[in-house]
């Protein structure tokens, strides 16, 4: 009886175990065949860490491969408020606030939030990192991020532009070439251990594609010279703004572009829109007498006048329709050459009357006014020039002398480059080459001819006339010892809000190139509302002189510059 019962009990236990085993096997089979994918997913989430891999943003170099915008790896400070004891938060805030230069109450507010993660300060300086690490505060941590830095501060700030906190281009070339510069994100599934720490073992990885580097046409030294001189004139004449562009007239490559007021690229968040605004390509203004180069070139190209043709300049007062035109100094008879060198409004108007509105308009457009020249910078405007059918009877006395037209400084430097290079309008450009991180060229940008505007002969004759402006005319202060310089002064009255021309607000300008025989650079200088002096020949011409003088000394490789320097020194030795 006992044995039977014993066997039954054993069988019952075995049965129970068997049922349990069968249940387990069934459950395992169910999990294996029906729940595997789901559970695998959950497990992967626990031990896999998805990390987006940030690409390196491309560097921006000047023409001599000197970096203008670079990335540096820098710490960002975060807090885990839940891990910080409530009693310590006040003390920590007091310690961190001066180090981070942050408002005490906003920092305290962040630390008291019931969150698992919160940024306290992003992209802090290495000094701040060291100071915070020394405090050894539990609940604070650092994450590496890359920061866009600009070693030259304010140099070329308007054209380089800047990238924001997330390394996305916001202004200038950083914005326009953002797609090339930023590269493509990669990702990886890293393993992490039981403490949720990342381990550099990955299951799957897509390597990030680093951004391309930009090589600019800008030369850091020329840019510095331009910045230095424009800064001097901006301060000395308490101007509203001032800008300068230096261009290689043969290629259209911009060698320097500077503007005042300016800003430090590393402090872009603290500046106003007005400081960031690039007036050299985004602002239009009436150019005044510098525009006479268009009228003069058109007259020579159309063979309507020759240099020695004489014009009576009405002793300084000439009626055009309902308006009376004046010269700043009354003149009697002047040759065509003198009309330009003395910048006679009346003489130029008479030349334009010979040409007629249609021809003049055609040349204004040929010189690139009223259209975007296609520079690789965001925000370029086309300027404004009315079609002849919209001209009033006064227009023929205004447009030839640079009134009733709106131009940009870039258009002016391109126009004077037409004369400098023998009659070709070149497309201005800033980026010479796009390279990958190994130095392989991805895209090379060559000079582009927009159109032929005037003949070589006309350009050569215009060079001589413009040389006369500097030698004997209104631009004497632009003379550069040792070089022959060609240029034209401009003093334009600004428009008042009521549409009338102002008598105390002017734009002083100077356009020109040097050496006149074989130009290496062409330059435009514009100064908005200088005071107390406002003549282009007084305010802008000295800037031109200083920039040309130092730039030509620097550009000693240019044959014409070398030749001029050698002859200048021989003259001085003798």
């Amino acid at each position: 009886m006992y044995i039977v019962n014993h066997h039954r009990r054993i069988n019952a236990v075995f049965l129970l175990f068997f049922i349990f085993l069968a249940f387990c096997i069934a459950r395992l089979l169910f999990i294996q065949f029906f729940r595997a994918t789901y559970l695998k997913g959950i497990a992967k989430k626990q031990y896999n860490l998805f990390v987006e891999l940030e690409p390196r943003r491309g560097t921006i170099y000047d023409a001599n491969l000197k970096p203008q915008a670079v990335n540096i790896s820098i710490d960002s400070l975060y807090a885990v408020p839940n891990e910080i004891p409530e009693l310590d938060k006040e003390r920590i805030t007091k310690k961190l606030s001066p180090i981070l230069d942050m408002d005490y109450s906003s920092l305290k507010d962040k630390l008291y939030r019931q969150k698992a993660f919160i940024w306290l300060a992003r992209k802090i300086t290495p000094g701040q990192t060291e100071a915070i690490k020394k405090l050894n505060i539990k609940g604070l941590g650092f994450l590496k991020e890359t920061k866009r830095c600009y070693p030259n501060g304010y140099l070329a700030s308007h054209l380089v532009g800047f990238a924001g906190l997330d390394n996305v281009g916001l202004e200038g070339l950083e914005l326009l070439y953002d797609r090339s510069l930023k590269g493509e994100n990669g990702f990886a599934f890293f393993l992490r251990d039981a403490r949720q720490k990342r381990l550099d073992l990955y299951e799957n990885m897509v390597v990030p594609k680093d951004g391309y580097d930009l090589i600019l046409t800008i030369d850091e030294v020329i840019q510095y010279i331009a910045e230095r001189e424009i800064d001097k004139v901006y301060r000395a004449y308490r101007a509203n703004s001032a800008s300068i562009i230096v261009m290689d007239p043969h290629t259209g490559a911009i060698l320097a572009l500077a503007k005042r007021p300016t800003f430090d690229l590393n402090e872009y968040a603290k500046v106003s829109r007005a400081q960031i605004h690039d007036s050299a390509i985004c602002d239009l203004f009436e150019p005044g007498s510098v525009f006479k180069i268009v009228t003069a070139s058109a007259a020579l190209e159309e063979k309507k006048v020759v240099e020695e043709d004489k014009f009576f300049c009405e002793n300084g007062s000439y009626k055009v329709a309902t308006h009376i035109l004046h010269d700043h100094t009354p003149h009697g008879w002047l040759t065509f050459r003198e009309v330009i060198t003395e910048s006679s409004n009346i003489g130029t108007t008479k030349v334009a009357q010979i040409l007629g509105p249609q021809t003049l308009y055609r040349y204004v457009r040929l010189f690139g006014f009223g259209e975007k020249l296609g520079i690789d910078l965001p925000g370029e405007i086309s300027g404004s020039i009315k079609e002849p059918r919209l001209w009033s009877k006064v227009s023929i006395g205004a447009i030839p002398i640079g009134q009733e037209v709106g131009v940009t400084a870039l258009q002016l430097v391109s126009a004077v480059s037409v004369i400098a290079n023998g009659g070709q309008l070149m497309k201005p450009y800033l980026v010479r080459e796009i390279r990958d991180k190994y130095g392989e060229t991805i895209k090379a940008i060559s000079p582009q001819l927009i159109r032929k505007v005037i003949s070589i002969d006309t350009a050569s004759r215009m060079k001589k006339i413009l040389t006369g402006v500097v030698e004997d005319g209104t631009g004497k202060l632009a003379k550069v010892p040792g070089f022959t310089v060609a240029g034209k002064t401009g003093t334009a009255q600004k428009l008042e809000p009521n549409g009338a021309y102002s008598h105390d607000k002017f734009i002083a300008s100077f356009i020109g190139f040097a050496p006149a025989e074989d130009p290496a650079i062409s330059v435009v200088v514009t100064v908005d509302e200088p005071r107390p002096y406002y003549f282009g020949g007084v305010v802008a011409a000295p800037v031109f002189k200083n920039v040309v003088s130092d730039t030509l000394k620097y550009l000693k490789t240019h044959p014409s510059v070398l030749e001029a320097l050698a002859s200048h020194e021989t003259d001085r030795d003798n």
Binding site: P67, V70, I72, S73, I74, P126, K144, C149, P151, N152, G153, Y154, L155, D193, L199, D200, L201, E220, V221, Y224, I225, E227, R228, S549, D550, K553, Y554, K556, L565, A566, E569, R572, D573, N574
Partner: protein
């Protein structure tokens, strides 16, 4: 006969399993060690980048130029101010062909500025790249 085979199989399976476990732990141990070194290396690299950036910033034209031009009236050098150095037998020596030396007349009568990039306001003469 069957039992020894079974035991041998169990032994080999156990050995392989242990080997696999050892291999896995080694991978993780090395990964931790490598990661530690990688972190140190990255930190040094980052510090190096920051220091290089600081050098670039401190030697930038804006900084140097402002210092020279605003405080000492530094002037752009003429061609005769420049010297050409040549590498010869481990030393840098003045090139024999100095193309733009100051002329004898001007030197005698002192009709032009000396070749030194002079400071005017500063008491310390600056003689970088000049003779």
């Amino acid at each position: 006969m069957k039992i020894p085979k079974f035991l041998a199989a169990i032994f080999f399976i156990t050995l392989l399993s242990l080997l696999y476990v050892w291999q896995q732990t080694e991978i993780f141990r090395l990964a931790y060690a490598a990661q530690k070194q990688q972190t140190s290396f990255q930190n040094l690299l980052d510090k190096n980048t920051v220091l290089r950036y600081n050098i670039k910033r401190d030697s930038s034209l804006t900084r140097l130029g402002n210092k020279f031009f605003q405080q000492s009236d530094f002037q752009m050098p003429e061609t005769y101010h420049l010297v050409r150095l040549e590498y010869s037998k481990g030393n840098m020596v003045l090139s024999e062909s100095q193309p733009n030396k100051e002329g004898i007349l001007s030197r005698l009568f002192g009709i032009k500025r000396q070749a030194e990039a002079k400071t005017i306001k500063s008491p310390n003469p600056l003689v970088v790249g000049s003779y």
